[in-house]
């Protein structure tokens, strides 16, 4: 009975109620879209930044993260490739890496050289898709190398040229090799394009005198969050094989820091938005309670208890906020889903975005969290603060209330 009364009361003042609903719905819509967009951006950043080279997760020998020395080897890397049997993991690839001097004639530069399996690597990292000239490493390659365009420019190298590589092998002896440049990649991240080179793993192991061992196994999943969810299984597999598993934010802590910083500034903005909306709405509703004092006096006179009237008004508040939030979520989700299908491009921010591995468009990511969190907080705040009009009503006396202006 109280509920139907409350519902009817809302529509006794249709204009005011609709205006309140629009305010609520619009705020909810904004919160849904902005949060979805923000979380979607983070996902794009993570996939871009980690997918380019590191992988969504990595198995490493203990201590390798602090001191990536070639002599730190995975005890049983072939068993770790079995991670692909864990749900959410689609690919795994072994790698060995070291520092080397790359030279052509008189010129030389230092660079990281990474031995990769040409058959497995393309399923884990997207570096192969940034090849600008020539081709990526292919199965069956022997003395070949791909380098970034910055290093190629510095060394004056073109496709087919010979690259001299000089490093220190696993045993400390000189590791020297002559390789043919087959591909030049351009990731847009200048540090990568200047300092990263890749060669076939088998040749690397031979040149660096490391037998059939590797330094890390990198992982990828079809969905980034599936890999995050598989963490416990991956850690268990690593522990079984005497190695450690590194999550995405252990591989790139600066990415997590950036996301945390960005999210906390955004949260402050959202909080301000919610507070403003909640108090404006509450003010309107409290005003309406005040001007209905005479009506409440009448209700008291015909025998309704103050508690019941208070509950009725509280229900009005709850209905109004739920309705507004629902409309906001519906429209917000609709807009978000639409943008999700087309994406948003930032034509002038390409350079900055490529630094974070975000080539092309950004897509929002609608989830239960992003849809419900913002509007939910508003509804919750209004419902809790509904105690203010409720308490006001408890204090009403029938006679004086009926005489109120």
């Amino acid at each position: 009975m109280l509920a139907s009364l409350a519902w009817r009361n809302i529509w006794r003042q249709p204009v005011r109620s609709i205006l309140s609903l629009i305010g609520l719905a619009f705020t909810s819509l904004l919160l849904v879209f902005m949060l979805s967009f923000q979380l979607g951006t983070y996902d794009t950043m993570k996939v871009g930044a980690l997918g380019l080279f590191d992988g969504f997760g990595q198995f490493q020998p203990e201590g390798y993260d602090d001191d990536p020395d070639i002599s730190r080897l995975l005890p049983d890397w072939k068993a770790l490739l079995g991670a692909t049997e864990i749900e959410g993991i689609s690919a795994a690839a072994p790698r060995a890496s070291s520092f080397a001097i790359m030279a052509k004639d008189e010129t030389s530069f230092g660079a990281a050289v990474i031995g990769v399996d040409p058959a497995l690597e393309p399923a884990v990292s997207t570096l192969h898709s940034t090849i600008k000239e020539g081709r990526y490493l292919a199965p069956g390659d022997d003395a070949t190398i791909v380098i970034g365009e910055g290093l190629a420019r510095n060394l004056g190298l073109g496709i087919g040229d010979t690259v001299i590589m000089l490093g220190t092998g696993n045993d400390g002896a000189v590791a020297a090799d002559v390789l043919e440049l087959v591909g030049i990649f351009s990731t847009g991240i200048s540090a990568v394009d200047r300092q990263i080179t890749q060669m076939p793993l088998a040749r690397f192991q031979e040149t660096y005198n490391m037998g059939d061992t590797v330094n890390v196994v990198a992982l990828r999943g079809l969905d980034f969050n599936d890999v995050v969810a598989a963490e416990a299984d991956l850690r268990a597999l690593a522990a079984d094989n005497g190695s450690v598993y590194l999550r995405w934010d252990e591989l790139q802590p600066e990415l997590r820091q950036m996301i945390t910083l960005d999210l906390s500034t955004a949260m402050m903005m959202y909080a301000i938005m919610v507070v403003v909306v909640v108090f404006i709405l509450l003010n309107t509703l409290y005003m309406s309670v005040l001007e209905r004092t005479r009506e409440f006096g009448g209700l008291l006179a015909i025998g309704m208890r103050p508690r019941q009237i208070g509950a009725m008004v509280w229900l009005e508040l709850i209905f109004l906020s739920l309705l507004g939030a629902a409309i906001g979520i519906a429209i917000g989700a609709g807009i978000t889903l639409w943008v999700e299908s087309v994406g948003i491009a930032y034509p002038d921010m390409d350079e900055i975005m490529r630094q974070w591995g975000m080539a092309g468009r950004v897509y929002p990511n609608l989830s239960l969290l992003s849809a419900v969190a913002g509007p939910g907080v508003i509804v919750f705040a209004i419902v809790v603060l509904g105690i203010i009009p409720y308490r006001h009503i408890l204090g009403l006396e029938p006679v004086s209330a009926m005489g109120a202006a």
Binding site: L166, T168, A176, V178
Partner: protein, 252 residues
């Protein structure tokens, strides 16, 4: 130009009077200079052995070295077969390496100078920048102590302002007959990073000489590099082609 006032003169002469006369003989820069002269002389030719102990095993290398003045040095590895033929040439601040498998000379980029030299605890910078200890640092005599009938000078060397150096400070111990006893390397935070110790001193070509040196890093206990000088001759006349790139690649 600042004028020297009467008061400055007074202050100066007072300071001079207070300084013990022996302090002039203990000029830390002169001591270091003496240690280097004892070590390398105007020119030198030596046969050495290098033992490298790492977590994975021990390697023994043999090498022959030639030095001229402060800034020219050539080191050629002669054994074992795996390493024989590799050579390093330092000419001023430029460092070249020769690898027989590549049959090519490569000038090291600045970014590679911190890399390990032949897998040892020495870096290319250690070879190329030995002399910068004298020129790029300011020296203070920390302590003078007696040991085994000798006086030992402990000198702290701090980089001069604006000089690009790797270390925050170095502490060098030199015996009064200019034998280098040890060298400690500290990082910018004043933490000891690695240490070189003279294990054995004997007479070599008529001079007291640190014939066995061991370098070790603090963060890799149990791992070290030891260099033993088997034989040496000093102030020899070396042919002018000795320190050229062509000689590095094709020894005459």
């Amino acid at each position: 130009m600042p004028k020297i006032t009467r008061r400055d003169m007074l202050a100066l002469s007072a300071a001079a009077a207070l300084l013990p006369s022996a302090a002039w003989a203990q000029d830390p820069t002169a001591i270091l200079r003496g240690a280097f002269d004892n070590w390398k002389a105007e020119s030198s030719h030596a046969v050495m052995e290098m033992t490298i102990r790492t977590a994975t095993g021990t390697r023994n290398l043999e090498m022959e070295s030639w030095t001229l003045g402060d800034d020219k040095a050539l080191v050629r590895f002669t054994a074992p077969a795996r390493d024989a033929g590799n050579a390093t040439l330092q000419d001023g601040r430029r460092t070249y390496v020769f690898n027989p498998r590549l049959n090519q000379v490569i000038q090291l980029p600045a970014s590679a100078m911190q890399q390990s030299w032949m897998g040892s605890d020495f870096s290319y910078d250690d070879l190329a920048k030995t002399e910068t200890l004298i020129t790029d640092y300011t020296h203070t005599l920390l302590q003078t102590k007696s040991s085994g009938g000798h006086r030992v000078y402990v000198i702290q060397s701090v980089p001069k302002r604006g000089v690009p150096v790797v270390w925050g400070a170095q502490v060098v111990s030199v015996r009064d007959d200019y034998v280098l006893l040890g060298q400690q390397f500290y990082d910018q935070n004043g933490k000891l990073v690695r240490e070189m110790v003279t294990d054995r001193i004997s007479t070599l070509a008529g001079r007291p000489y640190p014939v066995q040196l061991t370098m070790s890093s603090v963060d890799t206990p149990g791992q070290w590099t030891r260099i033993v000088t088997k034989s040496a001759e000093f102030d020899v006349s070396l042919p002018s082609y000795m320190f050229t790139r062509s000689n590095l690649q094709n020894p005459r």
